[in-house]
């Protein structure tokens, strides 16, 4: 797994790549937690984190990866932040559907829509 972090205005975007298996979920969770804490310690943006997870280049994700997504959702919500998923590939989408988590996550198919989605809420 590789993660690339970038910013667009007040939005943090993580481009996640490769397979999320084994201990990768822990690493992904750690990166997101760090952003949660960083946002929460700053006054701009009211201490909230606005996060887009770009899943386009995820080849495979296991149940711990799914767990990391859910845990991140919970901790970001706790600080009144927002997290949305961008460009779900077939297998990751299947996983989220199977686990009945489609209602939890807002999913978008373009970065512009994802940004608009975060902004309007």
């Amino acid at each position: 797994m590789q993660i690339n972090l970038r910013h667009k205005g007040s939005i943090t975007i993580l481009d996640i790549e490769g397979k999320i298996i084994g201990a990768d979920a822990l690493a992904l969770k750690a990166v997101i937690d760090e952003q949660v804490q960083l946002a929460n310690s700053q006054t701009e943006n009211d201490g909230r984190l606005n996060l887009i997870l770009n899943m386009e280049r995820i080849q495979m994700m296991d149940s711990s990866g799914l767990g990391a997504l859910v845990a991140s959702y919970t901790s970001i919500r706790r600080i009144q932040g927002r997290v949305v998923l961008l460009n779900l590939g077939g297998s990751v989408r299947n996983l989220i559907v199977m686990a009945k988590l489609m209602t939890i996550f807002d999913c978008y198919n373009s970065e512009a829509e994802a940004i608009a989605g975060i902004m309007k809420s």
């Binding site: 298996i21 495979m60 767990g67 996983l95």
Partner: protein, 142 residues
């Protein structure tokens, strides 16, 4: 049927989460050599990773001196994977249902569910220290 050309590949790993990547390349390569659709390959790959992670983490508690063993049985009509750990086992019935609304936001507990969803059959033997998973190549004869 198909038993005559059955081949068994065995992999045995010290119980470190680090070796899940090795397990993944082994399964991926075996699947590549087989005649299966991409979706089916992804399902089997995921099920093996989940079972392997459980054997290493829950079964052997990441004790490097304990082995997680994977038998890949390639037959004409089906692909069987037998995962064995050296732990104390568990009772499948006592594991909570991850689709239960009260469990939806939990960060774990979806592995067994996914294994069972991805494979045609999952059997727990020897108190759950042996997990046997089967995927049939075509719909099995009734």
């Amino acid at each position: 049927m198909g038993e005559r050309t059955e081949q068994v590949i065995t992999l045995s790993l010290p119980s470190s989460m680090q070796h899940v990547y090795l397990l993944d390349v082994v399964v991926s390569e075996i699947l590549k050599e087989m005649d299966l659709g991409e979706d089916v390959q992804e399902q089997i790959n995921l099920a093996v990773i989940e079972a392997g992670t459980n054997a290493i983490k829950h079964g052997n508690k990441e004790d490097l001196s304990k082995k997680a063993t994977f038998q890949f049985v390639l037959a004409d009509d089906k692909f069987t994977i037998v995962i064995t750990d050296e732990g104390e086992g568990f009772t499948r019935q006592e594991v909570a249902d991850p689709l239960d609304p009260e469990n939806l936001l939990k960060s774990s507990g979806r592995g067994l569910f996914l294994m069972e969803a991805c494979m045609d059959s999952v059997t727990y033997e020897a108190n759950g220290t042996i997990v046997k998973m089967v995927k049939y190549k075509e719909t099995p004869a009734p």
